[in-house]
C-alpha cells in the first residue's frame, strides 16, 4: 500500500523517481488526490521548509525537493482538477521595469510553488502595462513585485497605480533588498515580506483573507 510517509520522505530527499512512483501507486490504489497532495507532497515540502528556516539545509536542497514535487504534481494535477480541488492560489510575480535582478524573485516563486501555489513568472524589466496585461490574462489573485534598485523602487508605485487604475483586484505584495514595510505602506501595497520564507506566509494571509 502506498504510504504517504514514504511520499513525503521522497520529497524531502528529492528522490524524484520514488516520488512519482508512490504518487502513481497511491492514485491507483484510490487514495484521494487531496490526501496525496496534503499528506504526501505538501507535508514533505513542509519539513524541508522548516529545516531551511532552521538553517539545517540550503536552497539547493529545497530546489531538489521542489523538483521532486513538481514531477509528482504532473501526475497528480489532472486528478486534482477532476476532483475539483483548486490550487491554493494563482500568483503572478515579476521584477519591475528597469530592474534585472531576479534571483530573489525566483526564490520567492520557487517557495510559493513548493507551498501549493500556481505561479506565473512575469520575468524581469516588466513595465506597468505589461503587468496589467499579464494580470488580466493570468487571472492571478496575487501579484508580487520585486525591485532591487533604489532607482527602480518608484516603478513599483507606478505599477500598483496602473494595476489599480485598470481595475485589477488582485492583492499586491512587494519585496527586494531595499524595500521596507514603511515603503510598502506608503505606496499602498497590500503587504511586504523581507525574505522568501516569509513571502509564503504573507501570500497565504493575502490569499486566504
Amino acid at each position: 500500500m502506498a504510504d504517504m510517509k514514504d511520499l513525503a520522505d521522497a520529497i524531502i530527499k528529492g528522490d524524484m523517481k520514488t516520488a512519482v512512483e508512490v504518487t502513481k501507486k497511491a492514485l491507483d490504489e484510490g487514495v484521494e488526490p487531496q490526501k496525496v497532495l496534503n499528506d504526501g507532497l505538501v507535508a514533505g515540502m513542509g519539513v524541508i521548509g522548516k529545516r531551511f528556516k532552521a538553517n539545517e539545509v540550503y536552497i539547493p536542497e529545497v530546489l531538489i525537493a521542489a523538483r521532486a514535487m513538481k514531477s509528482a504534481m504532473e501526475v497528480l494535477e489532472p486528478k486534482l482538477t477532476e476532483a475539483g480541488v483548486e490550487p491554493v492560489g494563482k500568483a503572478l510575480i515579476g521584477t519591475v521595469q528597469g530592474d534585472l535582478h531576479d534571483i530573489g524573485k525566483n526564490l520567492v516563486i520557487m517557495m510559493l510553488k513548493g507551498n501549493g501555489f500556481e505561479v506565473v513568472d512575469a520575468g524581469v524589466d516588466v513595465s506597468p502595462d505589461a503587468f496589467v496585461e499579464k494580470a488580466r490574462s493570468s487571472g492571478a489573485k496575487l501579484i508580487g513585485l520585486s525591485a532591487l534598485l533604489t532607482t527602480t523602487m518608484p516603478a513599483m508605485e507606478k505599477t500598483i497605480q496602473a494595476l489599480r487604475n485598470a481595475g485589477v483586484e488582485a492583492k499586491i505584495m512587494i519585496g527586494g533588498a531595499p524595500i521596507t514595510q514603511a515603503y510598502s505602506d506608503k505606496i499602498q501595497a497590500d503587504g511586504y515580506a523581507p525574505d522568501a520564507a516569509s513571502a509564503v506566509d504573507l501570500a497565504m494571509d493575502l490569499v486566504v483573507a
Binding site: 536552497i59 531576479d102 532607482t151 515603503y183
Partner: protein
C-alpha cells in the same frame, strides 16, 4: 600569462605596495606605498528620467561637494572617486557622461583650490542583459555601452572599469543549485570568453586616449554567492569556492591590458595582485553599508585602495551617507599608512592581524588569507587556459578548505562539511578538456535558450 607569480613571497605581499604602480588623474599614485580611499555612492530612491534629470544632477553635486569637503578637512593625501553608472545612464550615454563631467570638474577645482590629489574612475554598468538572452557583441545595448566608453576621456574619466556579466545567465542557476560545474562554465568559459572580447575593446579605446583601463569584477557571480551565503541560502564553502573560481575570469581583463586598480567589489583582488602584480581596490567593513560580509578585515590585508562599495545619498544624523563613508575610509587609511611609514615589518604586522582576525572564522575569509592566496595562485597559474585554471581554482580551494578545516585552521560549520565532499565529487566528474564541458553544458535542457553560444564565440 607568465607561469610565475608576480608576488611569490609572503613578505612581499603587502598593502599599499604593488609591483606595477598606476599613475593617473591629478597626481595619484596607486600601489606606490600608500593606501588610498576610494569613495562610491549612488542615488537614493528616485526615478531617473527627463523630468527628474535636474534632481539627479543635484544629488550628485551634493554628494561630491560633501565628500570633497570632508576629504580636504581630514587632509586625505590622495582620493579615488568611483562613479558607477546606473542602467538609465548607460542606456543614454550623454547622461552618464554628464555626471562624469560634473564630478571631474569638481575634483579639478578642489585640486586647484586645496591641492587634493584625486582621480576619477568611471565604472560602466553592463546593460547587455537587458536583452534576454543577452546579445554580447552587437545590438542596442552593446551600442550604448560603447557610446559611454567612447565619451569617457573627454568627459574627464581617469580610469575605466566595468562589472561585466557575461556568463551570468548560467551563473545564477549554478549558484542556487550549488552546481560547481555550471559555475566553472559560467565563469571560466563564458565569462572568460566575453571578457576577452570586451576588454580587448576597452583597452583599445584606452590606448587611443590615455584613460587607464582598470579592471573588471566577478561581482555578479562571487558577490552574489556571498550575499546568498549571508542569507543562509547556500553554504559558505560554496561561496568561498566560487570566489576562487572567479579569479581566472577576472585575470582575463589584465591579460587584455587592464592595469588596475582592480574593482573594489572584486574580492578576488588579492589573487590578481599576487598573479599579475596590479594594484587592487578592496572593500570590507567599510562597505557594510552596501553588503554585509564575513571578510570585513581580511579583505583589507593587501589592498592598495580601500572602498565603501556604494552608499545611497541619504541623511544620517551627522551628514549624508557618502560623507560618512568618506570619513570612515579616511581613518582606516590613516591607520594603515601610519603603520606603513614605519616600514615593511609593521605593514606585515598589521596585515597579519587583519587577516588573522577573520580568516579562521569563515571559509570565505580563509580563501582571502594572504598565505592561502599565494598557495592557490601558484596552482592556478600552472594551468594554461581560463577553463583549466578555473577547474584548478575550484579543486585547490576545495582541497585547502578540507585540509585546513581538519587541522582546525578554519572553522567550517558541521552541516557544510558534507558540501565539501559533494563539491569534490562534482569536480571529479568534470572533463579536463574545455570542449567536452561545453558539449555537456549545451546538452543540459535547463540551460537551453538561456544564453546564445554564438555570442561567446562558441
Amino acid at each position: 600569462m607568465a607561469n610565475t607569480l608576480k608576488i611569490n613571497k609572503i613578505e612581499n605581499f603587502l598593502y599599499g605596495k604593488a609591483p606595477s604602480v598606476v599613475r593617473c588623474g591629478r597626481e595619484v599614485e596607486i600601489g606606490a606605498g600608500q593606501v588610498i580611499p576610494e569613495i562610491n555612492f549612488t542615488l537614493p530612491m528616485m526615478t531617473i528620467d527627463d523630468k527628474n534629470w535636474c534632481e539627479v544632477i543635484k544629488q550628485y553635486e551634493e554628494i561630491i561637494d560633501g565628500v570633497l569637503k570632508r576629504a580636504v578637512r581630514l587632509e586625505v593625501p590622495q582620493l579615488l572617486v568611483e562613479f558607477e553608472t546606473l542602467p538609465e545612464m548607460t542606456n543614454r550615454p550623454q547622461w552618464g557622461l554628464e555626471i562624469t563631467r560634473l564630478l571631474a570638474d569638481k575634483m579639478d577645482r578642489c585640486y586647484r583650490d586645496y591641492g587634493l590629489k584625486s582621480a576619477l574612475r568611471l565604472t560602466i554598468n553592463d546593460v547587455r542583459e537587458f536583452n534576454r538572452p543577452p546579445l554580447m557583441r552587437s545590438g542596442k545595448y552593446w551600442g550604448n555601452l560603447c557610446g559611454i566608453l567612447e565619451g569617457s576621456a573627454e568627459a574627464g574619466a581617469d580610469l575605466i572599469a566595468i562589472e561585466s556579466t557575461g556568463g551570468k545567465e548560467i551563473g545564477d542557476e549554478a549558484l542556487v543549485n550549488c552546481d560547481v560545474g555550471a559555475s566553472i562554465f559560467a565563469l571560466g568559459v563564458l565569462g572568460a570568453r566575453d571578457m576577452e572580447f570586451l576588454w580587448n575593446h576597452i583597452t583599445d579605446y584606452c590606448n587611443r586616449t590615455g584613460v587607464v583601463p582598470s579592471g573588471d569584477s566577478a561581482c555578479g557571480f562571487a558577490n552574489t554567492a556571498m550575499v546568498l551565503a549571508e542569507q543562509n541560502m547556500i553554504p559558505r564553502v560554496f561561496a568561498a569556492i566560487v570566489r576562487v573560481i572567479s579569479v581566472p575570469r577576472s585575470l582575463v581583463a589584465i591579460r587584455q591590458g587592464a592595469k588596475g586598480p582592480t574593482k573594489d567589489c572584486a574580492y578576488e583582488g588579492p589573487y590578481l595582485k599576487a598573479i599579475a602584480g596590479v594594484p587592487i581596490s578592496m572593500e570590507g567593513k567599510s562597505a557594510a553599508c552596501a553588503h554585509l560580509s564575513p571578510v570585513g578585515n581580511v579583505s583589507q590585508a593587501v589592498c592598495d585602495c580601500w572602498s565603501n562599495e556604494s552608499t545611497q545619498n541619504i541623511r544620517m544624523l551627522s551628514a549624508n551617507a557618502p560623507t560618512v563613508s568618506m570619513e570612515q575610509l579616511a581613518y582606516d587609511c590613516r591607520l594603515m599608512n601610519v603603520a606603513a611609514s614605519e616600514g615593511i615589518e609593521s605593514i606585515i604586522r598589521l596585515r597579519d592581524w587583519l587577516s588573522e582576525s577573520d580568516s579562521p572564522l569563515d571559509p570565505q575569509a580563509y580563501v582571502l588569507k594572504p598565505e592561502i592566496v599565494l598557495e592557490i595562485s601558484e596552482r592556478i597559474i600552472a594551468q594554461d587556459n581560463p577553463y583549466e585554471q578555473s577547474l584548478e581554482a575550484a579543486r585547490s580551494a576545495t582541497e585547502v578548505l578540507k585540509r585546513d578545516s581538519r587541522e582546525g585552521k578554519v572553522k567550517i560549520k558541521e552541516n557544510e562539511l558534507k558540501w565539501l565532499d559533494m563539491i569534490e565529487q562534482q569536480l571529479e566528474t568534470l572533463p579536463e578538456d574545455e570542449e567536452q564541458l561545453i558539449e555537456q553544458m549545451l546538452q543540459r535542457p535547463e540551460f537551453r535558450g538561456k544564453f546564445l553560444p554564438a555570442e561567446y564565440g562558441i
